[in-house]
Amino acid sequence: MSVTSSHDAAPDLSLERVAFARIFEGRVVARGTADRLDYRRAGGRVTAADGSAFMEPTKGYTSYGTLHFTAPAADGEISGRSGVATGGVHLDTAHGDAAATERVEYEGAAGFVRSATPVDARGPGYRVHGNGLLARADGSAIQLVRGVRGLLEMEARR
């Protein structure tokens, strides 16, 4: 993965207080805002500051409902379908789950989301802390690695 975009080079496009939406098959599948968004045509790099995005997963994580990500900083490479979010990444789901970690990497080609920093997640029925994360982008498995501990509910919450 190559996401270390050169911050020295002036962006080809720089936007402030940005709002965006992604439409797929006639549906808005993602929308978000950022305080600042820089685009560099070379490599198709995008850099966002104080970004917030709502995503409607079309497969995999659909059961979690709308996903809401926030991150102070995010770098992405559109052509490589990869990116890094840093500075404290938070995820909230409509289903009631919440997760936080310092840094998250997305490898679209491999279909993985990774974090090498401690991860805290909680939701209805569980609370977990791990020292790393490896998740399949298709939602089939979420793996917490390098030491994990937490709580699993043993009584139904209806």
Binding site: Y126, G139, Q143, L144, V145, R146, M154
Partner: protein, 297 residues
């Protein structure tokens, strides 16, 4: 084994604490895998092992938003643990009880733990020096009863330690159920009790305990066959008194001793002295068969 009957209170509901090296969640399959030094605990129950599979019960997904067209849920949260399986050097602790095996299944709904092992290393239950093993051990977490398939155990606490250690009672059976509230251990199917040179067989046996967890009495029913050296005694029932070390056979009891055949109202066998008393005896004696005994000093 008696102490096994005295254990902690029922497992209360609440979250299950866990630790492991890795955790893999498979939301679609409603399950979580834990790998490496797995540690699961709830209240006074602790289960450790090398791998664990935690299964969630399938529940109705939360109400969908009006315009949402989400498919059927496959989620982790919003559900509760239905059961979990632990593999690899499984160790269970609850109060004074500990148990070891190769595979354990904790079913939250039925409040049971089933522990199994291998033919070479069967599951073992320990409690204050008492050891019980078998093919399969089932713990009831709600009433603390224990069921054992093909149990093998030594009733250490059924034997006196004064003035000298006594021969232990070794018991085998196809099935054992420990009823804590009744202070009762019920052995069924092919029960064999061995003590020194004495072997007793019966279809079923109840071992009764006192408040201190000491075996006070063994009650064998359904046809009893007692062998002690060349001597054999049979009857419909037999009762063993742990204090006097006497077995009382009733129900058409018969004694076979080197050609002698005696029957009576009851037959008492004193295990330590080998003394036999036949009440209202009748039968056939062959003194010539005992000549060598008379010649003994």
């Amino acid at each position: 084994m008696a102490a096994v009957l005295a254990a902690a209170a029922a497992l209360p509901p609440g979250p299950l604490d866990f630790k492991a090296l890795e955790m893999r969640m498979e939301p679609r399959e409603h399950r979580v895998f834990l790998d490496g030094d797995v540690h699961l605990s709830r209240s006074d129950l602790t289960v450790t092992g090398q791998h664990a599979l935690v299964e969630y019960e399938e529940t109705t997904p939360p109400p969908r938003r009006k315009r949402s067209k989400q498919p059927a849920a496959a989620m982790l949260g919003g559900q509760s643990v239905r059961r979990f399986e632990v593999d690899g050097n499984v160790h269970v602790e609850r109060g004074a009880r500990t148990a070891d095996g190769e595979h354990g299944v904790v079913d939250i709904q039925t409040q049971t733990i089933v522990l199994t092992g291998t033919p070479e290393a069967p599951p073992v239950l320990r409690d204050k020096g008492e050891t019980l093993s078998g093919e399969r051990i089932l713990f009831h977490l709600d009433n603390e009863d224990v069921e054992v398939w093909r149990p093998k155990l030594v009733l250490h606490r059924a034997v006196a330690t004064e003035p000298k250690p006594d021969a232990p009672l070794r018991v085998e059976a196809a099935r054992l159920v420990l009823h804590k509230a009744a202070r009762l251990a019920r052995f069924t199917e092919d029960v064999i009790v061995r003590r020194g040179d004495t072997t007793v067989r019966s279809p079923r046996m109840d071992a009764k305990y006192d408040g201190d967890g000491q075996v006070t009495r063994l009650e064998l029913r359904g046809g009893v066959d007692l062998r002690q050296g060349d001597r054999r005694a049979t009857g419909e029932n037999a009762d063993y008194d742990a204090k006097t070390k006497e077995v009382v056979l009733t129900g058409d009891p018969k004694l076979y001793d080197r050609g002698d055949i005696l029957s009576g109202q009851r037959i008492d066998v004193v295990l330590d002295s080998h003394e036999v008393r036949v009440d209202q005896a009748r039968g056939k004696l062959r003194p010539e068969a005992h000549k060598d005994e008379e010649a003994r000093p």
